[in-house]
């Protein structure tokens, strides 16, 4: 999962990352094929070298040895709002077929439970040139329509321009079972590859929106031994974020 996320990042890009798996994937990319990545944190951090498994965005461990400390206005304003962020890398409670993200609430049997809300999520999804979402693959987390549209993908299946949005919108959904992309015309999520050890049927059964079996369905490449070593020994030695989902 982290390795599949890392693979999507290109050397030289500017990336706004959230805490957790986005951050893990970003640093795996930076330690391997993309040493020239510039990771940014919304609180005002550029190009940090995290240490000792940070617990959150404002943990001193995550902004250790950064090259710049500033604030929201710099990172989210003068980089993201300006249109200079290549990739926004986000987690989610729910993502629907149009790549709309919910991080605000869940509805269970008519009862609403609130979660963290947007923070910078809506800003990143609205403004980054492309968005990568990384999350656990569960049927209820991948519904036809999100229970609350916190951050826009292609709302109503409309183009970003039609919605008045500047950024390019969702590009990938990376889960512990598969990699999904988006159809250029219908703007709905489509399967690109399934991870080794799972199958199209298993992925489709665990997805709340319909998935078509593509003619060219690929198998996601396994992480290399070196990627696994970096993840386990350097990036997340306490396995706080990785669990079993690599």
């Amino acid at each position: 999962m982290a390795a599949a996320g890392a693979r999507e990042l290109k050397d030289g890009e500017t990336v706004v990352v959230g805490i957790g798996l986005p951050q893990v994937a970003c640093f795996l990319a930076k330690a391997t094929h993309a040493p020239g990545l510039t990771p940014l944190l919304e609180i005002g951090v550029a190009n940090m070298q995290p240490k000792d498994t940070p617990v959150g965005l404002a943990d001193s461990r995550i902004f250790y040895r950064a090259t710049c400390w500033s604030g929201f206005l710099d990172v989210m304003g003068m980089n993201l709002h300006r249109g200079l962020v290549d990739t926004g890398f986000l987690g989610a409670l729910e993502v629907d077929r149009f790549g709309n993200i919910n991080t605000t609430l869940s509805r269970q049997g008519g009862k609403v439970r609130y979660f963290n809300g947007s923070a910078g999520g809506n800003d990143v999804a609205s403004l980054a040139k492309r968005v990568i979402i990384i999350m656990r693959h569960e049927r209820r987390k991948l519904p036809v329509a999100v229970s609350h549209l916190t951050s826009p993908g292609f709302p109503g299946g409309k183009s970003r321009a039609e919605s008045g949005l500047r950024g390019g919108g969702p590009h990938r959904i990376i889960t512990d079972k598969a990699v999904l992309g988006f159809d250029g015309e219908t703007r709905t999520a489509r399967l690109i590859s399934v991870h080794p050890g799972t199958s199209f049927e298993e992925v489709a059964a665990n997805t709340g929106f319909p998935l078509r079996r593509p003619d060219d369905l690929a198998e996601t490449p396994l992480p290399s031994a070196e990627q696994l070593r970096i993840l386990r020994e350097e990036i997340d030695p306490k396995s706080v974020y990785l669990g079993q989902a690599i």
Binding site: S60, L73, R166
Partner: protein, 313 residues
């Protein structure tokens, strides 16, 4: 008078150094208070505890990303209207009191984003009545603001030059900003070490800026590196000197968060009955911040949290 820190030069020449109790007395019920914390970092906990001890009510509270400070005030029932971009206690858990208040409808809630809150403070700081943004568009956040408590705070608009669609945000001007910093002098010149989220825009948007500083240094030291001053003294109304003033949250370069105490807080906060046990025991049961520190952690525990110089935590 409160301790003024080391040396003669740190003496309170401008009369701005106050005790927590003196300052909090001047906060009227119903005031719009902005808090400078983010999740579990540099939260003005000493101020929040004193607001709870003084039984402040009906506050409007604004913040970019709410954390322990806001969760405590909401848990204590001090807040009537909440204006936030998000909320979290990082991996220790969600802001249980805030989320529960939303679920039960016990307060008025405006749900924004980090950047839109920052832009609203920026507009306030610049004396603009509004500011356009390209976030929020086509989201349910915007729809709920338009249909609810934020209906007079947002408006769709077009660029007068290009016709591009924007969301116009009304400026946010808090009555009082409480900002926790590492270093200040007696004039109120402040240094913020590490990232500073929306602290500068938030503080400068407010009508009154109150600073809580871990350390008070002589103004001579500020003059040696004035480029490090983020909030200049002439904007600051009062300075409170309170070491470990953000405990159990972290202050970069000074001390780490106290993971054990945060777990204890979250255990209480997730249960509506037990959150009052926490408030009774730790906040109402302490006469001031020093008494709270003595109750929550002994010298050995506090020393263990002190930052290593080369790590900053």
């Amino acid at each position: 008078m409160a301790p003024t820190g080391p040396g003669e030069a740190g003496a309170d020449l401008t009369g701005k150094i106050r005790t927590l109790a003196e300052v909090v007395k001047t906060v009227p019920d119903g005031a719009h208070v902005a808090l400078g914390g983010f999740a579990i970092a540099r939260n003005p906990i000493a101020v929040v505890h004193e607001l709870i001890r003084r039984n402040k009510r009906n506050l409007t509270l604004s913040q970019g990303v709410a954390g322990l400070d806001t969760d405590l005030l909401v848990g204590a029932g001090a807040v009537r209207h909440l204006i936030i971009g998000g909320g979290s206690l990082d991996r220790f858990g969600p802001v249980h009191c805030v989320n529960r208040a939303r679920e039960t409808g016990s307060l008025v809630y405006e749900d924004w984003t980090s950047l839109s809150i920052c832009f609203r403070y920026l507009a306030g700081a610049l004396g603009l009545s509004f500011i356009p943004i390209k976030s929020l568009i086509a989201s349910e956040i915007l729809a709920r603001l338009e249909g609810g408590a934020g209906s007079d705070q947002v408006k769709a608009m077009q660029c007068p030059f290009t016709g591009e669609p924007y969301v116009a945000l009304k400026a946010l001007v808090p009555d009082i900003c409480f900002l926790h910093v590492q270093i200040a002098d007696a004039e109120g010149n402040c240094r913020i070490l590490g990232p500073r989220w929306d602290n500068e825009e938030q503080a400068k948007a407010a009508k009154r800026i109150i600073v809580v500083a871990e350390e008070i240094v002589p103004t001579d030291e500020i003059r040696r590196e004035p480029e490090r001053t983020i909030i200049p003294g002439h904007r600051v109304e009062a300075i409170i000197h309170q070491p470990f003033g953000a405990y159990p949250a972290s202050v970069f370069g000074c001390y780490d968060y106290d993971a054990n105490h945060l777990k204890l807080y979250v255990e209480h906060a997730r249960d509506p009955a037990r959150v009052f046990d926490y408030i009774d025991k730790y906040i109402l049961g302490s006469s001031d911040h020093w008494a709270w520190l003595a109750k929550a952690a002994d010298m050995r525990q506090l020393s263990a949290l002190k930052a290593e110089r080369n790590l900053g935590y």
